[in-house]
């Protein structure tokens, strides 16, 4: 087990290292000099040169790569070209919205999908199954940002239950924050819940067809006992993979959804940075998101090994 975790950890570090190189090279390709961009068209060459020195742009590319990576390891993401403030502070402000939003959505998606998938699988062909499958078919087809707009139209503009956007800040209290994130989270969660429910259903149906389910029934277990004691844990193994994948979709989706609700999260930050050509911010936020995705993949792998003893032994 320990060896397995170590091995996955090693591959996590390797993926991150290669990803950082890819991101660095991609951003380096960009034509133009951030220093002259920051100072405007009329800047004196001396001033530009001084700023280049200050930003460390005159060092060799390799040195700069290691400075960037080394800085990130210590939580230093460099200085924003536009605002001249540390990027880490900007990110720290924004991540307090994006991360809770993604996690909230993941929670909602799981809470909706599990029962739906289980009911659909255990009552295969019933009215419940057909309606759940129909609903998920629709849920998968709805773009989350459009669904978000419909939610705003209905719950904010018509019913006035929620505000149409903005975020009061966590200082206003936990519930105020959660309330502001509820519509965005629902919008994010619904399509993912649909996918998850479908995976849950088919995985459970596959498992229910396995020989060991018949063995369990021959021992005298009722269908319900068979489901809870034998089918679910085995069916969960492929579902875990999907949950891991979904986290990266949710993070990416959060970036888009923040636009609908005017939430000051990482999404707003990155789009602002793109339009202002604040590349160091783009670079750092992308790296951070990649880190989050890779970390979740790692956690899923470990969860896999916990759920399945065969994996533990194998590697």
């Amino acid at each position: 087990m320990l060896r397995f975790v170590l091995k996955r950890l090693l591959s996590l570090v390797a993926t991150l290292a290669v990803a950082s190189v890819v991101i660095f090279i991609a951003i380096e390709v960009v034509p133009g000099d951030p220093a002259s961009y920051m100072l405007g068209l009329n800047a004196e060459p001396d001033t530009v040169q001084a700023l280049r020195d200050e930003l460390g742009l005159n060092a060799s590319k390799i040195t700069r790569y290691f400075q960037w990576v080394g800085g990130m390891v210590h939580g230093d993401f460099g200085t924003s070209y536009t605002y001249r403030t540390p990027v880490s502070a900007m990110i720290a402000d924004r991540i307090g919205i994006s991360l809770p939003l993604a996690l909230y959505a993941l929670l909602l998606s799981t809470v909706i999908a599990f029962p739906a998938g289980i009911i659909a699988a255990t009552r295969r062909g019933s009215v419940a199954d057909v309606s759940i499958m129909g609903a998920t078919q629709l849920g998968v087809a709805i773009p989350n940002f459009w669904f978000a707009m419909l939610l705003v139209l209905f719950f904010s503009i018509q019913l006035r239950w929620f505000s149409a956007g903005g975020f009061p800040g966590w200082d206003e209290g936990f519930f105020a924050g959660v309330k502001a994130l509820t519509l965005p989270a629902v919008a994010l969660a619904l399509p993912q819940a649909s996918i998850l429910a479908r995976v849950m259903r088919s995985s459970l149906l596959d498992t229910l067809g396995e020989d060991f389910i018949r063995t369990a029934r021959a021992k005298g277990l009722t269908t319900r006992q068979t489901l809870w004691r034998h089918a679910l844990r085995n069916a969960l193994i492929p579902v875990l993979t999907i949950i891991g994948l979904q986290f990266s979709f949710l993070l990416a989706g959060a970036i888009i959804i923040e636009n609908v609700f005017f939430l000051p999260g990482l999404g707003r930050l990155i789009f602002q940075a793109i339009s202002q050509r604040d590349l160091i911010v783009v670079e750092s936020v992308v790296m951070l998101l990649v880190f989050a995705v890779v970390l979740v993949t790692f956690l899923v792998d470990v969860a896999y090994a916990v759920a399945d003893p065969r994996l533990r032994a194998q590697r």
Binding site: L10, D211, F212, A218, K219, G220, R229
Partner: protein, 530 residues
């Protein structure tokens, strides 16, 4: 005392009748054998007793167990009966256990669902039961997972689950079909012992007459969902009164007619101290890769026209050896000569040699690309020829070879799914024959077939060997078949050939302990005199 009486049992699935008026009885302490080929309805009869039938099933008739008709029981009542009064063991031990639970948990579960006992007590019962099925706790602790056990050991766990509460009836559906012959003998002994000790009724379902004959007191023979013959086992074999019984019996011990091969014939294949190593996956990041020797310095010859058997249990290296002879994998030591031409270790086998050897596999369903026509499937080995046949020659050769295996030349335009298992095996033989090889490696060629079809394929193989002076390397775990079709036999164990010689000599007077053990495990039909 009669334990179970099945009367006029009829079953239809989605209105399609599959069982017709089945009658049989089982008494306490007695064993009933149910025999049938695939599709005979033997497994569905068993599942009817357990009331674990597939969706859309409708049952009629009566299944009286211990004075009460099981067909009148509610599902909740059946749950109380299953596992407590009636236990069941299935064919495939590799998949019959939950992979994410320990064997202790799974055996204990039988106790937990039926009795009010603590977790600790249930585990104790599990431990005792596992001991009872000869899985000693110090060697096989309760915390083992199924994937850590072999097939035979897993089947013992399944049996332990079924007998943990000492049921009065045990149903075993092909319990040994997936197991090696020596393991099969042990599991059958175990079942015999348990029936005796617990005065338990046993229903043993099998396609193999030999397995049932040895252990059953009564027998039922089924075909197409009907009982065609039944009675005391001895009487059934003595009288052979029903033609189907007779046919099954004859097919089981079928010996194809062949012209004897002179032992002075020239040597076709010479395998000289061949070894085959596999690199095992690295266990740790920095540990060196380990090697596993699957075939160890094996030497033997096959003469022209000779049929040589290669027997051994799963994992003994017989398939690896076959792949080396086919030129699919390089060998690490020794040499292989075919028709005087030699391939040394670490050399790729040239196509001039490969075209002299062809192969027939076990599984008639997996051996063909489902997207190609039979014609194209059979023609595949043409790839090995230097001068590929022209269009007319191609058509003529395919038609000829299809006819030589008993198919019509028009079958070449069909797809493989239009053929039965036996026909597919004929197509596989046609594919092997099409470039007129000197040697055909037959890898369990009849193991997946029903006995009656098996006999036809064996006859075909014998005839072809005579007609074309073909040599066979006949690989099988089925010693009865090997005895009936081969001239000489090689016995393989752990990568070594432990004994070789004339088939009759080896079978009647085995020298090596392993051969003796193997032969004594083979179920024998009454009236067979070997």
């Amino acid at each position: 005392m009669t334990l179970l009486t099945v009367e006029n049992l009829r079953l239809s699935i989605y209105d399609k009748p599959v069982l017709h008026d089945i009658d049989f009885q089982v008494s306490a302490g007695q064993t009933l054998g149910i025999i049938g080929e695939s599709g005979s309805g033997k497994s569905l009869s068993a599942l009817s007793i357990m009331q674990l039938l597939p969706h859309g099933s409708q049952v009629a008739g009566s299944i009286v167990f211990d004075g009460e008709d099981l067909l009148n029981k509610t599902e909740a009542q059946m749950c109380d009966i299953r596992g407590d009064d009636i236990g069941m063991v299935f064919q495939e031990p590799m998949t019959a256990l939950n992979p994410v639970q320990t064997i202790g948990q799974q055996v204990a579960e039988t106790v937990i669902v039926h009795q009010r006992v603590s977790r600790h007590e249930s585990m104790q019962i599990a431990a005792q039961t596992l001991e009872h099925v000869e899985l000693p706790n110090d060697e096989f602790p309760l915390s083992r997972y199924p994937h850590e056990l072999s097939g035979g050991q897993r089947q013992r766990v399944v049996i332990a689950m079924a007998i943990a509460l000492k049921p009065r009836l045990l149903i075993a559906d092909e319990p040994t079909t997936a197991l090696d012959v020596t393991t099969q003998a042990q599991v059958l002994d175990l079942l015999k012992r348990l029936t005796h000790e617990h005065n338990m009724g046993l229903i043993l379902i099998s396609h193999d007459l030999g397995v049932v004959a040895d252990i059953a007191d009564h027998m039922v023979i089924m075909r197409h969902g009907k009982v065609v013959d039944s009675g005391l086992t001895d009487a059934i074999f003595k009288e052979l009164k029903h033609p189907y019984t007779q046919k099954l019996y004859e097919a089981s011990g079928h010996v194809p007619q062949r012209v004897a091969v002179s032992s002075q014939a020239e040597i076709l294949l010479k395998v000289d101290s061949v070894s085959r190593d596999y690199t095992l996956p690295r266990t740790g990041l920095f540990s060196a890769a380990k090697k596993f020797r699957a075939v160890n310095a094996v030497s033997f010859v096959i003469h022209r026209g000779e049929n040589v058997g290669l027997v051994g249990e799963s994992g003994c290296g017989k398939s690896t050896l076959a792949r080396a002879i086919l030129g699919l994998e390089k060998v690490q030591a020794g040499s292989i000569s075919i028709d005087g031409e030699q391939v040394l270790a670490d050399m790729q086998m040239p196509s001039s040699l490969r075209r002299k050897v062809q192969v027939v596999f076990q599984d008639p369903y997996g051996s063909f690309n489902p997207r190609h026509k039979v014609k194209r499937l059979v023609a595949e080995p043409f790839h090995l020829l230097e001068n590929k046949p022209g269009a007319r020659e191609y058509e003529r050769t395919i038609a000829e070879v299809l006819e030589s295996v008993g198919l019509a030349s028009s079958d070449g335009d069909k797809y493989i799914h239009e053929f039965s298992g036996g026909q597919r095996q004929r197509i596989a033989i046609a594919r092997a024959l099409v470039i007129k090889p000197k040697l055909i490696v037959l890898d369990e060629p009849v193991s997946a077939l029903d006995v009656s079809i098996r006999a036809q394929i064996l006859d075909l193989l014998a005839a072809l060997s005579d007609r074309y002076q073909l040599s066979y390397l006949f690989i099988s775990h089925d010693l009865t078949v090997v005895r009936s079709v081969t001239d000489r036999v090689l016995v393989m164990k752990n990568g070594n050939i432990v004994e070789q010689g004339d088939t009759e000599t080896v079978f009647s007077d085995p020298q090596h302990t392993y051969t003796k053990n193997l032969l004594s495990s083979v179920p024998v039909l009454p009236g067979e005199h070997h």
